[in-house]
């Protein structure tokens, strides 16, 4: 054997090894680009949510070996909740193949991404928040405000107050004060409260707290003079504990304050100390770590030392559980799409089809180990919210306790408003309304 042929043989065998090994290394993978935020003012929400999301993806990988053998992968890009960082992350992460869906958990970033993801045909998930009119799948094919949009949240809160008063007809003549954060987010529900007040005959007074809200004496004195039956706290960050403390100071009963979905976390009540005892807040996912899926995460993921939360006491907290629920919704959408398109890496548009057929009834939710963690979801091609139910939990000084049944927002009432807004958007942007047939046409590359 000459020297040259030795090299040739070595090269050949090396090539063969590589060619055998390659398919294994390139097994089907589905990629989640995570535009997370672990620093900055929203870090408490970011670490909890993305921690829960990653924990669930890890659970699927460790326990099931992925979704039907397709391994889930992800990487994180820090946004600090800033729009331009989110855009940079989008451009950076989209170059990686096999992206399933985007989950920025930020309204601002989501807005900046709508045009981009629509061109790139990858779904954008804004669980529990986002642009209300993106519920209309005719106009926003790739945007999914899953479980709860701001209007449904408002309707859910009003329905809860009605149930406390003994029925929707008992709302007549009642008085509700909405204390809202002085930001676009805070102001978003003003017209819906006005509408519901008119419809059900209660009076509503909406009071603004300028950002950041660390001084609310005058607002609460106004509330004391108004003597409302309920106060809805539509707050964010430091505004929430300050509101609770000030309420105690002016003598307003805390158990008549109802928090919205961004005023419902442990981080909102613990700083208020005893003042928060008895405070109730809306949620789409109950907190606590007793649910089977959370238990499995503790056992399988944290047991293997792969848990994402540094502080294990936060397992089962509101944001962590929201991340887990978001993980369930994303993974199940992939599963739905895989049943139609095959057990392989899916394109973004195929995952979009999966989300549009994501139907988890209470029995299915129980099979996933999430009974009582969240109720159900029923997404369709034109309803991208999916009729999420809400529940209410009360803070007892140590933990949240669920104090209501699952409550349905009044979707039928809200739908025409949403459609009107979405149609106006479509007209402004020159978008043609999608039909059911359009939704079934799926791009496979």
């Amino acid at each position: 054997m000459t020297f040259l042929s030795t090299i040739k043989a070595a090269a050949l065998s090396a090539a063969m090894i590589v060619s055998v090994a390659l398919p294994a290394a390139h097994a089907d993978e589905q990629y989640f680009p995570l535009q997370s935020y672990r620093v900055g003012p929203y870090a408490a929400g970011g670490t909890g949510f993305f921690g829960g999301f990653i924990d669930y993806l890890n659970l699927i990988n460790i326990r099931d070996g992925g979704v039907n053998g397709v391994k889930l992968t992800w990487d994180e890009c820090e946004t600090q909740y800033e729009v331009e960082r989110g855009v940079e992350c989008y451009e950076r992460q989209k170059s990686r193949a096999g992206a399933a869906a985007w989950n920025p958990l930020s309204v601002g970033i989501a807005y900046a991404m709508i045009d981009r993801i629509t061109v790139d045909k990858v779904p954008l998930i804004t669980v529990n928040h986002g642009r209300t009119d993106s519920t209309d799948g005719r106009v926003f094919p790739y945007v999914f405000p899953l479980l709860l949009n701001p209007y449904s949240e408002t309707s859910g809160i009003v329905n809860y107050i009605a149930s406390k008063e003994g029925g929707i007809d008992k709302l007549k003549g009642k008085k509700i004060v909405v204390l809202y954060h002085g930001s676009p987010y805070g102001k978003e529900t003003i017209p819906i409260y006005e509408l519901l007040a008119q419809k059900y005959g209660f009076t509503v007074q909406q009071i603004e707290v300028p950002h950041p809200g660390n001084e609310q004496q005058s607002q609460w004195l106004t509330i004391r003079r108004a003597k409302p039956d309920f106060v809805v706290l539509r707050g964010w960050g430091v505004m929430n504990p300050v509101a609770l403390k000030t309420a105690v100071k002016v003598g307003y009963p805390v158990d008549h304050i109802v928090g919205n979905v961004w005023s419902n976390s442990e981080e909102d009540v613990i700083p208020a100390g005893d003042a928060a005892k008895g405070y109730t807040a809306i949620t789409t996912q109950a907190s606590g770590n007793t649910y089977p899926v959370v238990q499995e995460i503790v056992k399988t993921v944290y047991g293997a030392g792969k848990g994402n939360l540094e502080d294990k006491a936060r397992i089962g907290s509101v944001y962590h559980n929201l991340g887990i629920v978001n993980g369930i919704l994303n993974v199940e959408a992939i599963r739905v799409a895989q049943e139609k398109f095959g057990h392989r890496t899916l394109t973004g548009d195929e995952v979009r089809w999966g989300f549009e057929h994501l139907k988890l009834d209470p029995a299915k939710v129980e099979a996933l180990g999430a009974k009582d963690l969240f109720h159900s979801i029923n997404v369709s091609w034109d309803n991208h919210e999916g009729e999420g139910y809400v529940t209410f939990q009360q803070w007892d000084g140590k933990k949240w306790n669920v104090v209501s049944d699952w409550i349905a927002p009044d979707w039928a009432l809200l739908r025409p408003i949403i459609e009107k807004s979405a149609e106006a958007y479509a007209k402004e942007k020159g978008i043609k309304l999608r039909t059911a047939a359009d939704a079934d046409a799926v791009a496979t590359n």
């Binding site: 670490t47 820090e78 729009v83």
Partner: protein, 346 residues
């Protein structure tokens, strides 16, 4: 006249316009062909917008010597004004709304520039903070500005000039590049004109300027107006071409500081400096984050990485300002002189 010995002759000096023209030819001719969407969307568009804002602020702070912390407010005014002109006046071409938006920003600049007639230095800087807070507050408070959009965040309109759609990454880049090139050229002409010299005279000694007959009041307000016009247009580029969305939160005090840092790091009283500074502010954090993610991404989570990048970035800026207080532009000139010298002596 005796021939000058070779070692003393200056380098074959090209006319001053050659370098910018070559740069523009490269930016128009080569970059669109080879650039990736990441390059346009994440690097060049923010670079152009912030660079132009830096040019605007440099006219006010670098040349006319009036410190301002309200730049982001003027950007916001420009962005929201362009959005509203575009929305509410049918048939107004895009360029028309941009020019009108610049004028609105200029008008607001004049109003908030009035205190400069009585206040100087830090006191003026603090009074321009009023612009920062007032504009942001007004845009959030009155939903008319965002066309009563429920969330207060609005979508940028489609970009097209004379029927030519510019919605793609390259189109938006060319759109931004053209506006930035034109305004930068005008700014360059301005600072070497009589008005520009008046600015410098006021900066260097206001009393002396008054004595030699420069109308101080008028000149200061003119500086505020021109600067705000340019910053307002930069705001339009930021919102329409770069982010494609307009929200008041994006124009907060941090952005004002960012623009101030751009001109300090790039070099005060220098048009080029604004672009050097913007390049550093835009590219450097990205490079650091890429490097950090590449080297340590598996060890630490993204939060820890981001925190350490901030520390590194801050330390480097301090170090840089100590070693080169005149900014990147001075550093660049020195390097160029050295290179020319080395080239000559061979």
């Amino acid at each position: 006249m005796a021939a000058i010995p070779a070692e003393f002759s200056s380098a074959p000096v090209l006319p001053k316009w050659v370098a910018p023209v070559l740069l523009l030819a490269f930016a128009y001719g080569v970059v669109p062909l080879v650039g990736s969407s990441y390059l346009f969307e994440a690097i060049l568009l923010p670079f152009l917008a912030l660079g132009l804002a830096g040019v605007g602020l440099n006219i006010l702070t670098g040349y006319a010597g009036q410190v301002s912390l309200g730049s982001a407010a003027f950007m916001a005014a420009g962005a929201f004004a362009a959005y509203n002109f575009n929305l509410r006046i049918d048939g107004l071409p895009l360029i028309g709304s941009i020019v009108l938006a610049g004028l609105v920003a200029a008008a607001i600049g004049i109003v908030f520039g009035l205190p400069s007639l009585r206040l100087r230095g830090f006191y003026l800087a603090v009074s321009t903070l009023a612009a920062q807070f007032f504009v942001q507050w007004a845009l959030t408070k009155f939903s008319w500005f965002s066309n009563n959009s429920a969330s207060g965040v609005i979508d940028a309109p489609r970009l097209s000039i004379g029927g030519l759609a510019l919605d793609g990454a390259v189109g938006r880049y060319l759109f931004a590049l053209t506006i930035v090139a034109v305004l930068t050229f005008l700014a360059h002409r301005l600072v070497s004109s009589q008005t520009g010299r008046n600015f410098i005279a006021i900066r260097d000694n206001e009393t002396a300027a008054r004595i030699i007959g420069i109308p101080v009041l008028k000149t200061k307000l003119l500086a505020f107006a021109i600067s705000s016009f340019i910053i307002g247009v930069a705001g339009v580029i930021w919102a329409f071409a770069y982010l494609r969305t307009v929200e008041p939160d994006g124009f907060d005090l941090d952005r004002s500081f960012q623009i101030l840092f751009i001109i300090i790091i790039g070099g005060l009283a220098s048009i080029r400096g604004a672009f050097f500074g913007a390049a550093l502010i835009v590219v450097f954090p990205l490079a650091l984050s890429r490097l950090g993610g590449f080297l340590l991404g598996d060890v630490f989570d993204s939060g820890v990485l981001d925190m350490s990048q901030r520390i590194v970035l801050g330390a480097l800026i301090i170090l840089f300002l100590i070693l080169e207080p005149d900014g990147l532009v001075a550093l660049w000139d020195r390097i160029r002189r050295r290179l020319l010298f080395a080239w000559q002596s061979t």
